[in-house]
């Protein structure tokens, strides 16, 4: 009986990560390792303006002097940066991109992932189904961006950042690195030196972006790091909702993903940024999986501007990620809604920073951590108020749910205020998934897996509700799949 159960669990685990396949495709690599020539190589590949190369080289020089941060509650085999490919791209002919020119193998990959790259496929869906535009990033490059023309009609620019550097260099130059400077941290400096692609969004004043924008990141090649760079600018009174998704093949070695995301919200602009992160988490013993070392930051630069981060983090072997808001404009608002699920040997150290600089700025943090297996899940957050941030308010709620007896949850909140006129609230709970609740649900007819999924989805419900409707269902399933085999 026990042996049968074990077999079932093993099989269930093997099938848990359904995106673990590898695409066999002709690739072009830069030589392994990192030096100034590799940085020049990447910049040349992208036909970048000279100032960009200078910024990259400066970042590289800076990176050489920095040390990998070790304050997070994660332990991992350090990356050998000289044994990595920093550039890997599917081979393609030069010239304008159209679907016909994309390797059919690549198209099949996205089909398998359920990501619509053909605009008519999106349209062919259910009548009334909302459209969303996709930028598909495969290893180091963006392979296609859909609905570009339709978006352009309303003035919205949505394209690969490499393309934006060529087409809209002044706009990129004005904002790139203005939220996350090259010297910000070790991984941000590395990213600035070697980033190869990512998405660029600009929404002009007063425009409400007519559809959801999304980017799907896929790491495919072996021994390759992915360094994408995303820059989103919502001009005065603009609104945009953006979603990113990520998957990777199942591999025995660890792979590095070091992204930088910068958001700029001008006066009365609003940006909603959602992430469904499902990188390969490694096996139950901790072999393989993605190192997800990401810097995400929003600058609420304008008055009454607003940025909401929503993240559903179920993948990656190690996560180091703190999507933050600088609340610079008076009356600006920052929100952070997070679900972090860890199972097996996964380690997550994630949270946010809400930096209150302007008057009457408000922020809200809702974090739901779910740990199972032998995993470790840490919430780390900073809420701070500058002396001028009178009337600043924050509400933080951190809830942790433990499944089983071998996992861990930690909550590390930092609160700093330089004004007596700020009001910060912090609530935190840690609970174990209750055997009694499970038994109760099972007595009503739910199997153990169904009962766990129902209870966990109840636990994370407040955050799921913040996701765009069409992704909330997907995220709900993902949470359930990630926890399969976590009990009993």
């Amino acid at each position: 009986m026990a042996a049968v159960k074990e077999t079932i669990d093993t099989v269930a685990k093997l099938e848990t990560y359904e995106h673990g396949f590898v695409t066999d495709i002709a690739m072009e690599f830069a030589p392994k390792g990192l030096n100034a020539d590799i940085v020049r190589f990447i910049s040349a590949k992208k036909n970048e303006p000279e100032w960009m190369l200078e910024m990259r080289l400066a970042a590289y020089e800076r990176w050489l002097t920095m040390e990998e941060p070790d304050w997070a509650k994660v332990h991992y085999q350090k990356v050998d940066y000289q044994d990595l490919y920093f550039y890997a791209a599917p081979k393609k002919k030069d010239g304008p991109k159209s679907l016909d020119e994309i390797d059919p193998e690549l198209l099949r990959t996205y089909e398998k992932l359920g990501i619509p790259l053909r605009e008519q496929e999106v349209l062919a869906g259910v009548v009334g189904a909302p459209k969303y535009a996709v930028d598909a990033v495969f290893d180091s490059v963006s392979v296609i961006t859909t609905f570009k023309d339709e978006l352009k009609k309303s003035g919205v620019i949505f394209c690969a950042i490499s393309e934006a550097l060529r087409e809209y260099p002044d706009l990129v130059r004005q904002y790139l690195g203005s939220v996350v400077p090259v010297s910000d941290n070790y991984f941000a400096a590395l990213n600035a030196a070697v980033f190869s692609d990512g998405s660029f969004v600009y929404v002009p004043p007063g425009v409400r972006c007519p559809m959801e924008l999304s980017t799907y990141f896929r790491i495919n090649a072996e021994n390759t790091g992915q360094f994408e760079r995303t820059l989103i600018i919502a001009d005065k009174g603009a609104y945009v909702s953006y979603l990113e998704g990520c998957t990777a093949p199942q591999r025995d070695e660890n792979q590095l993903h070091a992204a930088v995301v910068e958001l700029v919200a001008l006066d009365e602009a609003e940006i909603k940024y959602s992430t469904v992160q499902n990188w390969y988490p490694g096996d139950a013993e901790g072999k393989g999986g993605i190192y997800n070392f990401v810097t995400k930051r929003a600058d609420c630069r304008g008055v009454r501007s607003k940025v909401s981060w929503t993240q559903v983090e179920t993948g990656s072997a190690v996560t180091w990620k703190y999507p933050s808001c600088i609340l610079r404009g008076d009356d600006s608002v920052g929100e952070f809604y997070s679900i972090a699920v860890t199972n097996g040997a996964q380690q997550a150290d994630t949270g946010t920073k809400m930096i209150h600089l302007g008057k009457n700025t408000r922020s809200r943090i809702i974090s739901k951590g779910v740990s199972a297996g032998k995993s470790s899940n840490t919430y780390r957050g900073l809420v701070s108020a500058h002396a001028k941030a009178t009337g600043a308010r924050n509400f933080t709620q951190c809830d942790s749910l433990l499944i089983g007896k071998t996992c861990a949850a930690h909550t590390v909140p930092y609160v700093e205020s330089d004004t007596a006129k700020a009001q910060f609230e912090h609530e935190a709970t840690t609970t174990r998934l209750s055997e009694d609740q499970l038994f109760y649900a099972m007595q009503r007819g739910l199997s153990q897996e169904e009962a766990v999924a129902l209870l966990v989805n109840g636990f994370v419900r407040d955050v799921l509700q913040e996701l765009p409707m069409e992704f909330a269902v997907e995220a709900q399933k993902l949470v359930a799949i990630s926890l399969e085999g976590s009990v009993g």
Partner: protein, 249 residues
Amino acid sequence: MLSIKDLTVSVDTKTILKGLTLDVPAGEVHAIMGPNGAGKSTLGYALAGRPNYQIKGGSVTFNGEDLMDKDVHERAAAGLYLSFQYPLEIPGVPALTFLRTALNAQRKLRGEAEMSAPDFLKRVREVAKTLKIDMDMLKRPLNVGFSGGEKKRMEVLQMTLLEPKFLILDETDSGLDIDALKVVSDGVNALRAPDRGMLVITHYQRLLDHIKPDRVHVLVAGRIVRSGGPELALELEANGYDRYVGEAA
């Protein structure tokens, strides 16, 4: 319908039920009465398959099938319903979602088609009305912040919707005022049927004024020490359990 023979159950290292034998035929309502610690709730939990309730001996068949061989949810799908003395709170899961998930999980296990959302809602509305449950309450997370009486009414709502073949009511009267007791027992009585059996576990005779049993069993120290008609409950009310506790010891 439910046939328990020589059932011995232990929790951790302590033996609670010590060779309990009981038969409940279809269509009958049997009451289990006994002093605190006699093993009344343990019987309900063991029948439902609660983890850590180890079956050390004996057998239980339900409609001729071995009940103890089945997992908790399989017993539920086979038609066994345990109404909890202290119904659990399920944060973040609206009562309606919980009910529909449970109902369809059971139907799936039995190889039946799922009930559609409109049919389900129509049915819930009917039942909720008779139990004086506001539909708005069903949109709230199950049992979270509900009063004792509301929780017990939710238990009856669930059993009415799930249409089990056999009901175990564990101290259903605890925490109920007279009005709530009436609503709850009316709900339970409405479920009495020739093809349905019930086991009513209670400490006090009060509940049996409302849900009239066909048979009454006295459970003391893990065994049935006396069985009789409804008059046995009245005798217990008058004289207490002392006599039987003495006999068992």
